[in-house]
């Protein structure tokens, strides 16, 4: 028997929750302007009905059930219902175009697809002429579905009704299948977004998910009565751990927003106690606050500035429980009443006890801003193959430049090459239908290569990540090239949305920049700079001047680190379009795909190195509906001042 007693599967945890706290809220969703609530008992009954309905439709043990749509209780329930039937849920990225869905649907061989709405159904229908194993499509939102051929398609509520009606027929079968689930049966299969090559299906067992949930819940003291907002893609491992694994293990409530566009409002209404967001969400919120403060009256501005200064000085210390003078404590208390409290309330963070950010490096100013307000924002480092957690920051030991200590139950070691390896109960079972990749990632002793380069700080025992191991390269003169390090420094400026740095094997580094339309647009408005399009704003001479300033500042800071001083950006250009996942330039989790960009914009890169001051280019773009178009532009190339590099090079020669 496993270490967790009888609780060896998600359905078993659901059963326990329905018995232990039947009336506590389990799921909330805002619909028609009102938060609808389902208690654990109600959710358990719904999920069972869905499972019975799936049996009636002929779902078999071991089948893969693809789930695609925005975060909704019905879709979470479908995943658990599939597990009850002995099938494996496979959540997919809802914003993937049909082309991208083909590969995953084909690879997992899904017989059932659960769709959120008509948009997703259309994509499934579109791919059905190429793959033929999809037998049943079930949709949640009925809108616009009336005219579709329903011979192999069902509305989820009809499935539920059928399941309820047929319960005498299938009760025994369903109970049998739930009883068959053990600690080693597959819990979920998640496709990695794949910065390189095709996505891989990561098979995670009940042991992986439940052990990880148990350990991480204990680490942060999560408890029933906590609230999370489920708004990150369901296909992402983090959402599965937070909204399914930890929620089921602890019995806390999962809240689903009304739509992607109302997320910020819903966040405020719910006031989660446990919150996760990638850095860009925190960045976006901070940018918004700053923009709105610019428009505030003089007194408010002065108050804000004064008390934010107080917070910057003593806030993190108070949060970490370090000694702070009484005068400062009083000042902070007043600031909390006047500024921090109302601000946290506006942002929806009044009740946050544990907040995490991960996925990308977060700017130190942004990180410190939230912490100084008294929000316990921490960093973690993880990946799909580890069921998220590799390292995380304990309360009171939080810094913006580290990712924390190994999570409970996780062993971490650094190889001679600098690559980070780990071994844990959350370590994935295998890549689906891909034994070669499994073998090359996970060795016989269970150690997994993360593909990231990093090191442990000797004084604190915290891990620091520098870059992707394969991206860390050498420049022509042998100096270290760590593009991500430079890009992150650039991206910490609110006006820079993305940056791509080149220089591997070359003499000097150069960069592409993407402006952040919200921040730069606002700046332009306040400085009376007229523009009619993204492209025009991006190419504006004053925007170039501002960017040049940012690049030169970054160069100065890089020059201070002798190891990395070769990475200073000598020349840069501002791209005429945003890098976009629809064009394949980024992954769905918004990580830059270097290879694709290098190929697509080879003409621009050439121009960066041959000394031209401008270049004319034409770029293919894909619209949201999958159609293609082209944009033409003449881009300026700008030189940026560097520090000490030439002297060093001379010395090296």
């Amino acid at each position: 028997m496993a270490e967790t007693g009888d609780l060896v599967s998600i359905p078993a945890l659901l059963h326990r929750n329905a018995a232990a706290f039947p009336r506590q809220p389990a799921y909330r969703e805002k619909e028609f302007g009102i938060w609808q609530v389902w208690s654990w008992a109600e959710a358990a009954s719904e999920i069972r009905a869905i499972a019975l309905g799936f049996l009636a439709l002929g779902l078999q043990r071991g089948d893969h059930v693809a789930v695609v749509g925005r975060n909704r209780p019905a879709l979470y329930w479908s995943m658990v219902a599939a597990q009850m039937c002995g099938a494996v849920p496979v959540p997919l990225y809802q914003d993937a175009v049909a082309e991208e869905m083909v590969y995953v649907l084909d690879h997992c061989g899904a017989r059932f697809v659960i769709c959120g709405d008509q948009e997703q159904v259309d994509k499934v229908i579109e791919v059905q002429d190429r793959i033929h194993h999809i037998e049943q499509v079930v949709y949640v939102d009925k809108r616009g579905m009336r005219k579709y051929d329903h011979s192999r398609m069902n509305w989820l509520e009809d499935v539920v009704a059928e399941g309820r009606a047929a319960h005498r027929r299938f009760d025994e079968e369903l109970d049998g299948r739930i009883a068959e689930l053990d600690y080693d049966s597959t819990c979920v299969m998640l496709y990695t977004s794949g910065t390189t090559g095709k996505p891989k299906g990561v098979v995670l067992s009940n042991r992986n998910i439940i052990e990880t949930s148990k350990n991480s819940v204990a680490f942060d003291g999560l408890r029933p009565g906590d609230e999370v907002l489920a708004y990150l893609p369901m296909a992402w491992v983090g959402d599965f751990i937070f909204s399914v694994g930890q929620a089921m293990w602890t019995g806390f409530c999962v809240n689903c927003p009304e739509s992607a566009t109302t997320m910020m409002n819903d966040l405020r209404e719910i006031g989660p106690t446990y919150f996760f967001a990638p850095p860009r969400v925190f960045e976006g919120q901070l940018t918004n606050v700053m923009i709105r403060m610019e428009d505030a009256g003089r007194i408010k501005k002065a108050l804000f500035r004064h008390y934010m200064e107080v917070a910057r000085r003593v806030g993190p210390a108070i949060l970490d429980g370090r000694p702070v003078s009484t005068a400062d404590r009083i000042a902070y208390w007043i600031g909390d009443k006047l500024i921090y409290g109302p601000l946290k309330n506006t942002l929806g963070f009044s009740r946050v006890r544990v907040g995490y950010t991960a996925g990308e490096a977060i700017g130190p100013e942004i990180f410190d801003f939230y912490r100084s307000l008294g929000i316990n924002l921490k960093q973690l480092y993880g990946q799909t193959e580890a069921s998220v957690f590799i390292t995380q920051q304990p309360d009171g030991q939080v810094r913006s430049d580290t990712v924390g200590v190994p999570s409970p139950g996780v062993e971490v070691r650094i190889a001679e090459t600098g690559e980070v390896f780990y071994r844990s109960p959350g370590t994935f079972v295998a890549y689906y239908k891909n034994p070669e990749s499994t073998a090359s990632t996970k060795d016989a002793e269970g150690w997994v290569a993360t593909g990231d380069a990093g090191f442990f700080e000797e004084a604190t025992g915290h891990l620091r990540i520098i870059d992707r191991a394969k991206d860390v390269g050498k420049m022509a003169d042998g100096r270290l090239f760590a593009p991500k390090y430079v890009e992150n420094k650039l991206k910490f400026y609110p006006s820079i949305l993305e940056a791509v740095v080149f220089g591997n094997g070359r003499e000097r580094c150069t960069a592409f920049l993407n402006i952040d339309l919200a921040a730069v647009g606002n700046w332009a408005e306040r400085n009376n700079i007229a523009y009619s399009s993204y492209q025009e704003l991006a190419g504006h001479p004053k925007v170039y001047d501002m960017m040049k300033g940012h690049v030169e500042e970054v160069n100065r800071s890089i020059a201070e680190d002798p190891m990395l001083s070769g990475c200073q950006v000598h020349r840069f250009l501002i791209l005429h379009k945003e890098l976009d996942a629809d064009d394949g330039e980024m992954t769905r989790t918004r990580k830059v795909r270097r290879k694709v960009i290098e190929e697509k914009y080879h003409d621009l890169i050439a121009a960066l190195y041959d000394g031209r001051t401008s270049i004319h280019t034409e770029t293919e773009v894909t619209y949201e509906d999958g159609r293609k178009g082209a944009i033409r532009a003449t881009l300026r190339i700008e030189d940026a001042a560097t520090h000490g590099a030439s002297a060093q090079r001379m010395a090296a020669e």
Partner: protein
């Protein structure tokens, strides 16, 4: 469990059906002083169809729509609605009859929120009096909750949840148009009149609007009469098209028939006079 179990008046029919004649215009002539805006036009609108009125600038399309809505009373001719000859009516009587419209130049209450604007569309359907509404007591409260529930359905239908509480004056043009459509839908119309629903929109906004018009027609079975300049939109959307030029009807039929109609082509492309 689902606290909100209100169903919109869905037709329930599995096939989208085009029924009998809902409105018929018989030999309409409209004059402003000596100017003839409309000359002897007859056509009908069938239940459940999307009917477009097109024509070059100044052809009399908006006048025609105003005759349909009862705002203009023609000097000659008859308007028949649901089998009865329609007498001269006040605007609120028209609304009570089940006709709703949107305007070419958006006519919303700029200072009010999106939600309140749409709620005004429910006004003709409210039964409680001024005093009980002002006190918000008993029946009036229950009624408001009921109306709010229907309005929320429409907000969901048109995907404008995120601007529910935003004052209309702060919205971009394309969204205002959508709010106006929402308000018209809130009256639960039998016949919906759209005056240039796509004017001034970009391609993406137009595509959204097309989808909402088709969905409205499909989900609620609403009959729609629209004026539009964008020929591509008209030909894709409508079941039948009336073409006007200089106040006269020069064509009437399905989009395909109109496309090959000589008089229409001449009116749009111009004719060479030898």
């Amino acid at each position: 469990m689902n606290a909100l179990d209100v169903t919109m008046d869905e037709t329930g029919a599995d096939e989208r059906r085009i029924g009998g004649v809902l409105m018929e215009m018989k030999n309409i002539t409209l004059r402003f002083g000596g100017v003839k805006a409309i000359t002897d036009i007859s056509f009908d609108i069938r239940e459940g169809e999307i009917r477009a009125i097109i024509g070059p600038n100044g052809a009399g399309k908006s006048s025609m729509l105003n005759v349909i809505s009862g705002f203009y009373v023609p000097q000659e001719g008859e308007v028949w609605f649901r089998g009865k000859r329609r007498p001269q009516m006040k605007p609120y009587e028209v609304a009570q009859q089940g006709i709703a419209r949107t305007f070419q130049n958006i006519a919303l209450f700029e200072g009010m929120s999106v939600l309140d604007n749409i709620m005004t569309g429910r006004l003709t359907l409210m039964k409680t009096g001024l005093w009980s509404q002002a006190l918000w007591w008993g029946r009036a409260q229950a009624e408001e909750v009921e109306h709010r529930a229907k309005v929320e359905r429409i907000i969901d239908f048109l995907e404008i949840q995120h601007i529910r509480k935003t004052p209309v004056g702060r919205l971009p043009y394309g969204l205002k148009k959508r709010v106006e459509l929402a308000r018209a839908l809130a009256t639960e119309p039998k016949l919906l009149l759209l005056d240039e629903p796509m004017a001034g929109m970009n391609v993406e906004e137009k595509e959204d609007m097309c989808r909402f018009i088709l969905d409205t027609n499909d989900e609620f079975g609403t009959t729609i009469a629209l004026i539009e300049h964008d020929m591509g939109v008209v030909m894709d959307l409508s079941d039948r098209v009336v073409v006007m030029d200089y106040g006269k009807k020069i064509g009437d039929g399905t989009p395909d028939e109109i496309r090959s109609n000589k008089a229409v082509i001449d009116a749009y492309l111009g004719v060479q006079h030898d």
